[in-house]
Amino acid sequence: MSALDPNERRLTRALYRAGIRPHFRWRELRLLLVVAICLTVGWVSLESFRQGQIAIGDAALLAVYLVALGVIHVAFVVTGRRMDQILFPTAGLLAGISLLVMNRLPQNLVVQQVGGMELPLGPLQLVWILLGFSLLAAIAIFVRSDGWLRRYKYTWAAAGIALLLLVFVFGSVVGGARLTLHIGPFSGQPSELLKVILVVFLAGYLAENRALLSSGTTRVGTFTLPPLPYLLPMLAMWGIALAIVIVQRDLGAALLYFLVFLGLLYVATRRAMYVLYGIILFLVGGALLYVLFTHVQDRINIWIDPFADPQGAGYQVIRALYAFGRGGILGTGLGAGLPSVGDVPSIPAIHTDFVFAAIAEEMGMLGALAVLGLYLVIAERGFRIAAAAADDFRALLATGLTLVIVVQAAIIAGGNLRVLPLTGVTLPFISYGGSSLLVNGAVIGLLLALSDRGVEAPPPGVRPNAVVRAAQRARAVGGRIEEALS
């Protein structure tokens, strides 16, 4: 892009005259075109199978989605940020696959009333994707400073714990786990939000204390431990994870939090021993939970031998294995799988916890590997952003945000594949669910904002308007809370 071609120069000049400083993103545009082609081929394949002839059917959902991707791309270009160009198309492809799958599954799995309209699974998922991507774009474009995250880490931690307590007390039990919080007409899964808050806090805490943490001073026998006061966060994290398992029965979130914590601790201190201690703590905690709680025992027993009770406890896992087996290498093809026998879904929770099995059945091992590959692309981009970050906080934040997505995907894919015990977390960008899509959109948005190293602070010299004044007041209040807490 060193030499601008004449067309580009002409376009740039016109935009400059309108007061816009564009930064073209040709690589992103090319990748988005690939995404559009893939999704269109997928859509045609699905409709053709349904109708028995080459057809595209009612492609309104797909068209809306592709237009939305284009609009976001143009917004990125026009606002002129110098951000990563690969993350957004990657998330776009993942969410596009989700749209295909949700459109393909039995539509009556979820039906929600929205303003007098009945939205079934496919359109509903599109609404959530659009909301999530709007959040992604808004954060990527407007977040120009990380101070609001960096400065108030204890406030964030307090907010997170408050959120957790709120769920402990008011959460409603769905499917044996206390995960969902209802506020008025809205409901959501705060554990999704909590994972971001956790990363923000850990990044702030570790960036501040990593020098001390990584110079081990306390020696107990042959063990080198970090200075004891700094050991507390590890124990606190461990305790929180245990509490989540005990009170919320949410093994997946607990596992995710703890793994992300260990990953960040390692990146901050570069001490493998800490990770080892963490794993030992994890195993001790796991053993304790196994002995004390039947729901943990159930999960482990199903994992070890689902065929012990094929019509009962092991039903879901076995049905997922059948789906994998049916898929084979190339898959049955979109629409040709067996997601339901009659009206009953062949795998319970196929649109949330077991969407990976649904993909592996119809797109085969190659399709499933491609999906896993997309998460690794996110990992590569995220770590690259971390490596290039200007300081420790941003590096740790980028690492943590990346881990949140990539580790969560591994946990649920591993649970589907019986590589790990099954725990109910979503497959980022693909599983049905509003909380998950909004939060993961925000995560990618933050990563994009972090990848722009050009702009640090908001442009000065502008008369503070009402919004800015409100933000300043909020910052002052936050500062006072922060002082009180630290």
Binding site: V267, R270, L338, L372, A386, A388, A389
Partner: protein
């Protein structure tokens, strides 16, 4: 430099320029600044950890979608088999001579129903019912009969491009329905089982379990549930395949197993005699306070018996001596070489046979008394008729045990045939050991004092062993026979049991003889 190291180096180089340009603390000349290492330098191990985790996921995908794919698809619980059963006709099952055993008809409401031409084959064929699922061969070969699994693994990839994705195969069995008929008639309404095998191949020629059930009534949409409930309520378990899953005390037919162990381990030779044995015929053989007797009718001889004579007259005392000399460990080990102690790999579900209960201190046996009793098939010995047929087949095939099989070949709708070739399952004993036992078993049918004389096939050299298995003080013993014919070039090996049938020589032995005669085309 090794491969991974080079890759690491490259990745480091890849990351470095950015670190230097944007680092918060620029590197000082002559070394890094003091303080903790750079955050970005820890990203490489983290990336590797993630790569390992994702490689494990890819491994999981490959395992389930490639390695296990066929097994999962063929699983009878897989809803796919129900879907396939609705959309495709089931393959036909034929006997060895091409006689139809199972085919498809339309039921009263136009639904697809299975029709079974011979109810005597029920223990082998089983049933395929919309209500009760599948059993026996209909279960074991469900995926092939519905066409869910192609015979050709390469086909699996291309299946989805075909108009009709299911390609049901026909089964051609080794079972000879005429011999099955003879065997069933010989048992009549007596409770018991018969297994007949071709020793050189392991092909099952007949497999009868009595009483049995009528599979046509099981699959009947109107009457099925009631009929099944009636079967399940009966005391004589008609749904149980006694031939493969019934566990019985074997009595003297087990002496062939003891012979293999004793000769194979070198504990006895054909010339071995026990000097006390003639006297013990009167007094009993005292083992640790327990007296072992021979049947009163055992012929009194003036000299100690050698191996062949002991088998001919079926001397418990002689085999108790031999068993004690062989030892618990040898007896268990050699029995295991015949397939004892584990499920027999077979198309039908099998129960494992046992030499002992296995929780005693003497290599699993409680004491020497149990070992001495086991040597002539009492004690804690429990066997399936199929297992004993395999014992006879092993001796007939000079020590090689062929894997038992019911299916000769499968035919796809395009006419392509897949043969299931005979496989040697276990090499049990040496040719010499088998020869010694062969001549002794022939003497046990054709000798002057032979107990199993009634098994003789007229004009054909015949070998065998009878058994009378004591099962309780006031209950008639099980009547057993195992054998094969012709003794010099065996074509059929059989095991016969009549539950509580009394003396082996009076019930099971003549049945075995008539069955072998019928198969060899000899009238008697």
């Amino acid at each position: 430099m090794t491969g991974p190291r080079v890759a690491l180096q490259k990745l480091r180089l890849h990351l470095r320029p950015r670190l230097q340009t944007h680092g918060a603390t620029p590197a000082l000349p002559g070394g890094l600044p003091s303080g903790p290492p750079r955050v970005s330098r820890s990203l490489l191990p983290l990336t590797l950890a993630l790569a390992v985790a994702y490689a494990a996921l890819a491994g999981g995908l490959a395992y389930w979608q490639v390695v296990q794919a066929q097994a999962l698809t063929a699983d009878p619980l897989n809803p796919l088999s129900l879907a396939a059963a609705r959309s495709a006709p089931r393959g036909t099952i034929y006997d060895a001579n091409g006689i139809v055993l199972a085919s498809n008809v339309r039921g009263p409401n136009g639904e697809r129903l299975r029709q079974y031409s011979y109810t005597i084959a029920a223990p082998v064929i089983g049933y395929s019912s919309a209500t009760f699922g599948t059993a026996a061969l209909e279960r074991a070969y469900d995926a092939q009969l519905t066409g869910l699994v192609s015979l050709n693994p390469g086909d699996e990839l291309l299946r989805k491009f075909r108009g009709q994705p299911y390609d049901p195969s026909d089964l051609h069995l080794s079972l000879d329905i005429q011999l099955q008929r003879v065997a069933a008639d010989l048992l009549g309404d007596q409770t018991g089982a018969i297994v007949a095998i071709e020793p050189a191949t392991g092909r099952i020629l007949a497999l009868v379990s009595s009483p049995t059930y009528n599979p046509n009534r099981v699959v009947d949409p109107n009457d099925g549930r009631q009929y099944m409930a009636g079967l399940q309520a009966r005391d004589d378990s008609p749904l149980l395949d006694r031939a493969t899953q019934g566990l019985y005390v074997p009595g003297s037919v087990f002496k062939i197993v003891t012979s293999i162990a004793a000769l194979g381990s070198g504990a006895i030779t054909p010339q071995t005699t026990y000097p006390d044995q003639p006297a013990e015929l009167q007094t009993g053989f005292l083992v640790d306070g327990f007296r072992i007797h021979d049947f009163p009718r055992t012929v009194q001889t003036d000299h100690p018996l050698d191996y062949a004579e002991a088998l001919e007259v079926s001397s418990n005392i002689w085999f108790a001596h031999a068993g004690l000399d062989t030892g618990a460990q040898n007896l268990t080990d050699w029995a295991a070489r015949l397939g004892f102690g584990a499920r027999i790999p077979f198309d039908l579900p099998t129960s494992p046979s046992q030499v002992t209960g296995g929780n005693g201190s003497l290599d699993g046996f409680q004491d020497r008394v149990e070992l001495a009793n086991a040597a002539y098939g009492q004690g804690e010995v429990l066997v399936t008729p199929l297992q004993m047929a395999l014992v006879a087949s092993t001796i007939a095939d000079n020590g090689a045990l062929m894997r038992p099989s019911l299916v000769d070949s499968l035919t796809a709708s395009d006419g392509s045939v897949t043969r299931l070739e005979p496989q040697t399952w276990l090499q049990v004993c040496s040719f010499e050991t088998a020869q010694i036992i062969r001549s002794a078993m022939q003497q046990a049918v054709e000798g002057e004092f032979a107990v199993a004389a009634a098994a003789k096939v007229p004009g054909v050299p015949t070998a065998g062993k009878s058994g009378t298995a004591q099962v309780g003080p006031n209950v008639a013993p099980h009547s057993w026979f195992i054998g094969y014919a012709p003794a010099d070039a065996p074509r059929i090996a059989v095991a016969v049991i009549v539950e509580n049938g009394g003396l082996g020589s009076q019930r099971a032995v003549p049945i075995g003889g008539r069955l072998m005669s019928a198969y060899l085309g000899v009238l008697r």
